[in-house]
Amino acid sequence: MSEAALQPTGAGPLAGVEERQAGAAISPRRLMWLRFRRHRLALASGAFLLVLYVLAAFCEFVAPYGTTTRNDDAVNAPPMRVHFFDADGRFHARPFVYAYRMEVNPDTWMREYTEDTGRPFPIRFFARGEPYEMWNLFRMDRHLFTTDAGAYIHLFGTDPLGRDMFSRVLYGGRISLSIGIVGVVLTIVLGILLGGIAGYLGGLADRVVNKAIEVLQCLPSLPLWMALSAALPVHWSPLLVYFGITIILSLFGWTALARQVRGRFLALREEEFVMAARLIGADTPRVIRKHMLPSFSSHIIATATLAVPAMILGETALSFLGIGLRPPVVSWGVLMFQAQNPLVIELTPWQMFPGLFVVLTVMAFNLLGDGLRDAADPYSTGGMK
């Protein structure tokens, strides 16, 4: 890893020049982008997240199987290795995997898998495979990669019911990643609304919201999340539970943002351009929408980005405890529920993959958020001290 990659403030000389030359002529948003671009690690994280979100968005196409498709010949099977060279050392342009050969060890009761070199399964790209409904809209059967009928491929191994972990991690990503985003959108709405009201109106409203923030910030969130999600009615459909959990997660997440918005509003209220707008006769919503929000939207974006990990970790923790989402919904937390025993690491380590994805995603969001925050700060020198 190069030094620059880990150096959030390490700016290339050119970028600085560009920024200074452009001077007042460029918009704040462009300015932010220019500053952000210099955080290579943040940029990389952004790219990583983008890929992840695209994969999750198109998981029906990317995943070779659905979430409940079982391979009855592969219970707790390890990840398959993709080969270009066969057992005799011959090269094949089309990559392939070998079928599993399974034996239950009579002493350890372990299912032991070996590669059946007599049965290669060539990998087909953009080929027809298991039919699915893209976004519940279009019936399709093309997959990014799959195998011929009768063959199978499990890049991340399988779970105790012989379901493809790779596919499940992707589908799980769709839920976990979207909970992060949906939750944060809710958080932003709540935060701006309440923070804005407090900051703009001041007085009683300010005191009430402030007290609410103070109280909520000193509540341990996980126990309350647990209490709330345990109260979700049994008969709710998976979709309702999904939204229920998302709302529960946002209920306690808006305080940081609201506090920040409030502070900004308090400061901005006194600024001349706001005063001017009000004197002209703009009504309150218009003042807020047109003049105040844009002036710190970049901050909101940065704070929101940093709030996503908390949502994802919250969902994961709740589902891991068995009181969040539940099967047949697949999320990273739900997948982790099956790996509650530390010895899973020893026995079937591939079933911990969802955890790895949680860690990577949260890390990427943290880095991205840091970069955005630095970039959004109009007073920051962008590391050019």
């Binding site: 009855d72 239950v104 009761w109 019911l161 049994v234 539940r326 010895l343 899973v344």
Partner: protein, 675 residues
């Protein structure tokens, strides 16, 4: 032939939907074939007794235990743990003629402190009942009692206790302790608002301090089974508990005590004490091998009961192990599995699952534990209970309407039990419907295999016949009127692999277009929702299927009881329990079943009992009251490297109280083999 005609109770029944004809026919058929069946059963029983199956355990475990005088033992010894405690000599603490227990493998050594979780306390130091069971679950054997007898008419059971038995505080154990439990717990209207059916109308007759009778208004010949299996519930130390009982204590004093201890009622306080549920547990006298020294919210600390009444063949007072620490891990079976696998527990089994076996065996490979694989008693690890009394007319019509038994049969035929056996049970379970256990003299293979064939096409055909079609094209069937057909399935995921099995079942049912929504709930919620009849479908494992319990509590075979583990016909059961005062009158065929149930419980001859048993089993096989999956599954019993005398095989379940006949008091530590 029957003591009471099953039909005699209900004349002038109201009309029922036509669809029930099939069920009546099924019962009718069974009745025609009864004579033959009885004869076959008699033959079967004869051949079974003529050629006893190979014995896995010491011969002594199949027979009434010998006493010291019978084997010529005259001197007894005690654990050094008890030396210097100012106790009376061991000869005086033991009963007049102590019971000699043959260990499985070797005579043990005293000492050590066992580390277990509270979940395994009933297994590690089992209860001591007046009577107990033989290792093959076929016979009732004496334990605290030295003998018992049943009157000709089946109404009177007489029990004679051994002389010189004592509670752990040295107080003599007498007939009064049995009287107290019956009269002041079972028959106390405050304690038990509804009298438990097994003891209804029972009268306690004390002959002398050691001899007493249970006298019933009706024949109750199976009471001795109840007394043996359920025995822990048949006696309480009266000298201790009367100070906590409203019948013996001044009301105001008792109320003040309840208030002070923070309980809601004296009954709750009594129960908490009895279950060793609070700090006062150390005061409660016991007959079990261990008594409580201290109870904290996180641990139960026990030590040997100095008055325990059993000895080993060398004259050493049992148990061998001096102390037990039972840590209170809340329902966290993964943590228990981890601790068992890493050798941190001396004994663990209750909370372990079949799928845990490879994981537990990791410990064996590392040399930190031994993993024995027993066989679970449950004829089906998951017994799916559709709620016939669920408060939704459309759903009820489906289960019990014009479509006859098609819906349930379709659900059963959709399950691939062979595959389930391979995937979850390593192919070592036995696919089966819910019926009697193979050890039972009433077991028939055809009952176990009824409607168990995997045939999704046939299942779909049955559903099509019910006009359950997929109207909106989502791959799932709707009710005939077009509304969504969704089954909410709440269940308690404990003991057997219930969750993973149901995930598989959900897939199977989806393939035939049935939408199943699973939610695992916890113990209390399960109880609450089951009792409130709020569960559309639920499950439990099918135990109570051996000759010991099947005649007494045939839960899966006719509506007679409700509980957290059985929520399929609450209204019908309530009607039966209250003789029609409450609940909902069941359809005629079900009334008939209830009649067979009475007949089974009250039959005084083997032939009558067999007729009734076969009728119930036949009806269950035909109608599938519950849907069975795979049973008699491997069950891991994990013991530490140093623990000896635990049997390598065994039957694991409620009917034989897990370890009752495997004598855990003879388990001991061999520290020399620890590495």
């Amino acid at each position: 032939m029957l003591t009471r005609s099953p039909r005699s109770r209900h004349h002038g029944c109201r009309s029922f939907p036509e669809g029930t004809r099939l069920k009546v026919l099924a019962l009718g058929k069974s009745r025609q074939g009864l004579a033959v069946v009885a004869a076959v059963a008699a033959l079967f029983a004869a051949s079974a007794t003529g050629q006893p199956p190979e014995r896995e355990f010491p011969d002594a475990w199949y027979e009434p235990p010998k006493t010291a005088s019978e084997v010529g033992l005259t001197s007894f010894s005690q654990s050094p743990f008890l030396d210097g405690r100012g106790l009376p000599p061991v000869e005086e603490r033991l009963p007049d003629d102590p019971v000699v227990i043959q260990p499985y493998d070797s005579i043990g050594k005293y000492g050590g402190k066992a580390r277990i979780t509270l979940w395994d306390s009933w297994q590690f130091f089992n209860w001591e009942h007046a009577l107990t069971l033989s290792a093959d679950m076929r016979n009732v054997l004496p334990n605290l009692a030295e003998s018992w007898s049943l009157s000709e008419d089946g109404r009177v059971t007489t029990v004679k206790l051994r002389a010189g038995l004592r509670w752990s505080d040295g107080h003599p154990l007498t007939a009064d302790d049995f009287m107290f439990r019956l009269n002041h717990v079972f028959l106390d209207p405050d304690f038990s608002p509804v009298t438990y059916r097994g003891v209804r109308g029972c009268e306690f007759v004390k002959i002398d301090d050691l001899t007493f009778q249970y006298v019933f208004p009706e024949p109750n010949p199976m009471f001795v089974n109840f007394f043996a299996q359920y025995g822990s519930h048949m006696l309480d130390p009266m000298h201790f508990f009367k100070q906590y009982h409203a019948a013996y204590r001044d009301k105001e004093e008792l109320d003040a005590l309840v208030e002070e201890e923070g309980f809601v009622s004296w009954m709750a306080m009594y129960r908490a004490l009895r279950d060793w549920g609070n700090e006062d547990a150390s005061k409660v006298p016991t007959v079990r091998a261990y008594k409580v020294v201290e109870r904290t919210p996180t641990k139960l600390r026990l030590e040997r009961n100095p008055y325990y009444f059993k000895i080993d063949p060398a004259g050493q007072q049992l148990p061998y192990i001096d102390e037990v620490d039972a840590i209170i891990l809340l329902e966290n079976s993964q943590m228990i599995a981890f601790q068992a696998a890493t050798g941190q527990l001396d004994f663990a089994a209750f909370a372990l699952k079949t799928q845990d076996i490879p994981l537990l065996k990791l410990g064996e490979a590392k040399g930190v534990n031994q993993v024995h694989v027993w066989r679970r008693l449950h004829i089906s690890d998951v017994s799916i209970q559709p709620n016939y009394n669920f408060d939704d007319p459309k759903y009820r019509e489906l289960l019990w309407g014009k479509g006859e038994r098609r819906f349930i049969r379709a659900l059963s035929h959709a399950i691939d039990r062979e595959q389930m056996n391979e995937m979850i049970y390593f192919g070592r379970g036995v696919p089966s419907q819910v019926t009697a256990h193979p050890s039972s003299r009433w077991y028939e293979q055809r009952f176990a295999e009824a409607h168990a064939r995997y045939d999704p096409d046939y299942a779909r055909q049955l559903l099509d016949e019910l006009e359950l079609a997929d109207v909106d094209g989502d791959g799932l069937r709707e009710y005939p009127d077009g509304s969504k057909l969704t089954i909410t399935f709440e269940f308690l995921d404990f003991e057997t692999p219930k969750s993973i099995t149901m995930e598989l079942v959900r897939d199977y049912w989806r393939e035939i277009g049935i939408d199943l929504r699973l939610k695992s709930v916890e113990r209390r919620l399960q109880a609450e929702r089951a009792q409130a009849n709020k569960m559309q479908m639920t499950l439990w494992h099918a135990d109570k299927v051996t000759d010991i319990l099947f005649p007494l509590v045939p839960d899966w075979f006719y509506p007679h009881r409700t509980g957290w583990d059985i929520a399929m016909w609450n209204h019908w059961a309530r009607y039966y329990q209250t003789d029609g005062r409450l609940g909902e009158r069941p359809p005629d065929d079900v009334r008939e079943l209830q009649g067979w149930g009475d007949a089974l419980r009250m039959a005084t001859t083997e032939a009558d009992r067999t007729v009734a048993a076969k009728a119930l089993l036949e009806a269950a096989a035909e109608n599938l009251w519950t849907i069975g999956t795979v049973g008699q599954a491997p069950h891991p019993v994990v013991v530490s490297k140093r623990l000896r005398n635990v049997t390598p095989t065994g039957i694991w379940g409620w009917d034989n109280r897990w370890t009752l006949s495997y004598h855990p008091a003879t388990w001991y530590f061999d520290e020399s083999h620890e590495d």
